[in-house]
């Protein structure tokens, strides 16, 4: 299976933060979610892929091509939505489209018009008059109107109500059904990922914690709930983090199978949600 996006040992240094040795791949035809706490490096990775910032080391290949050497060629096939859509405030949507569309050889005007109608976006209005949700919808309409093979979305659903989020996710899912498209999107909202992502990459403090198929993660990671006195950090196989509360200890394990064997009768083992994973790995006391 070909990878539509291949990142190898990517490194970016800032004062006070370093993205370090990041590697992961997105196979063609799938959706990958990038999750991690604020400041973990999600947006940095996306900016590096789009060459908005310069990398210090490593390799980025999109559609098998180097993302810097074949920059223009690659970008003609990428649809992008950033968490703060950067369009000129005082220009109408129609004019914005006229300025941008000609850059894409596969621009589909009819599709764009259809999307604008479905999203209920008035073409004549100026960009600044739009609410945040509508701005995101406009950016999305543009990103989806030139038959892009890869959609890159940075926090597309932040601050938006469930109705819009579900619509967006449905659209993405529909896109995937019809053709060989791929999607990379970063988000805080782990429930969105649980809904449609095929692959998940978790980043923390500039490093990859894991990158794997979602189903695999949800199968293998679990939360063990046990009494405070019974808990021993060696006693939980695959322990990744734990927390004490007044009710006992909650421990995250990446080896649910082995943990299940090690349980005693009063312990409870539950499937870990993506949010649980993020939470315990960020805040829990680390093991080992």
């Amino acid at each position: 299976m070909d990878s539509v996006l291949e990142i190898k040992r990517l490194r970016k240094e800032y004062k006070g933060f370093t993205l370090n040795d990041v590697s992961f791949s997105l196979p063609e035809g799938f959706i990958m979610g990038l999750i991690g706490p604020n400041g973990a490096g999600k947006t940095t990775i996306i900016k590096l892929v789009m060459n908005l910032i310069r990398r210090n080391a490593g390799e980025i290949k999109v559609f098998g091509l180097d993302n810097i050497r074949s920059e223009a060629e690659i970008k003609a096939r990428i649809g992008f939505v950033y968490d703060n859509p950067f369009f000129y405030d005082d220009i109408s949507l129609k004019s914005l489209k006229s300025a941008i569309a000609p850059f894409y050889p596969k621009w589909d005007e009819r599709l764009f018009q259809k999307l604008m109608e479905e999203f209920d976006l008035p073409l004549k209005k100026k960009f600044k008059t739009l609410s945040h949700g509508m701005k995101m919808k406009f950016a999305l309409a543009i990103a989806m109107s030139h038959d892009a093979d890869l959609l890159i979305l940075d926090e597309p659903t932040a601050g938006l109500d469930p109705v819009f989020r579900i619509e967006l996710l449905d659209r993405l899912a529909a896109l995937m059904e019809n053709e060989r498209k791929s999607v990379l999107f970063s988000t805080h909202i782990t429930t969105d990922l649980e809904r449609i992502a095929d692959y998940i990459t978790f980043i923390k403090d500039g490093e990859i914690v894991f990158t794997a198929a979602k189903d695999e993660i949800l199968e293998n990671w679990a939360v063990v709930k046990t009494g405070g006195d019974r808990f021993e950090s060696d006693g939980v196989p695959g322990l990744r983090g734990y927390r004490r509360s007044e009710y006992g200890v909650e421990a995250l394990t990446s080896d649910a199978g082995a943990a299940r064997q090690a349980l005693s009768r009063d312990d409870v083992l539950e499937r870990a949600s993506l949010e649980d994973i993020m939470f315990f790995m960020s805040k829990g006391e680390r093991h080992g």
Partner: protein, 225 residues
Amino acid sequence: MVNLIRKELILNRLNILIFGGMIAAYAVYMPLRKVSSGFLMVSIGVISAFLPISFQAREDRFKGAALNCSLPTSRNQLILARYVTGWLMMTAGIFLTIAILLMIPGGLTIVHSLLTLKSLILWLFIISLVFCLILPFTMRFGFIGVLVFLVALQLLGTLMLILSLMFRGKTNAIRALFNGISGLVRTLKAGLGETGFLLLGVLFILIMNVLSFFISRQLFARKDL
């Protein structure tokens, strides 16, 4: 390139209209006040040069660089387009001025004095100077940087004035500098002859633009957005 130019024009439509209006107003107003053609060239030249600079300022304001750099194009192309569009705008400014002058009473004489090779080259020189200097500056420091630059220039001018007053009669470095430059220009003119001197002027304009372009390109290529 066409796409890039079109994009610049669409996104900065209002500025083009406003600056166009200012140029037209000057072109109408100045002959009425019997202003010298030299003054007209400088003022309209400066306004024209600031039009493409305002494109850069707008891009800063709306963080349009992120959008521009995400489009299927390269940073070098983006910068080249800014310079090309800039020159398109500035030459359009010249044409506009002349067109308006032709239409108003008293304008014809000014047009005559403007339409000499010498005047045109001088005009282009003035425009280039402003454009080539300030565009990379705006790119590096943003629009605020330009304001800072202009204010700094004012302060420098005031400082020079004070200094010249203080050192009146004594060895005046600034006066010496000016005399030096005008002396050099005169020597060149005498040495090269009229045509040769004009060619030198054109060469200088080209060099300024090329240098400015390369500097802008470097600045932009490195910029983390």
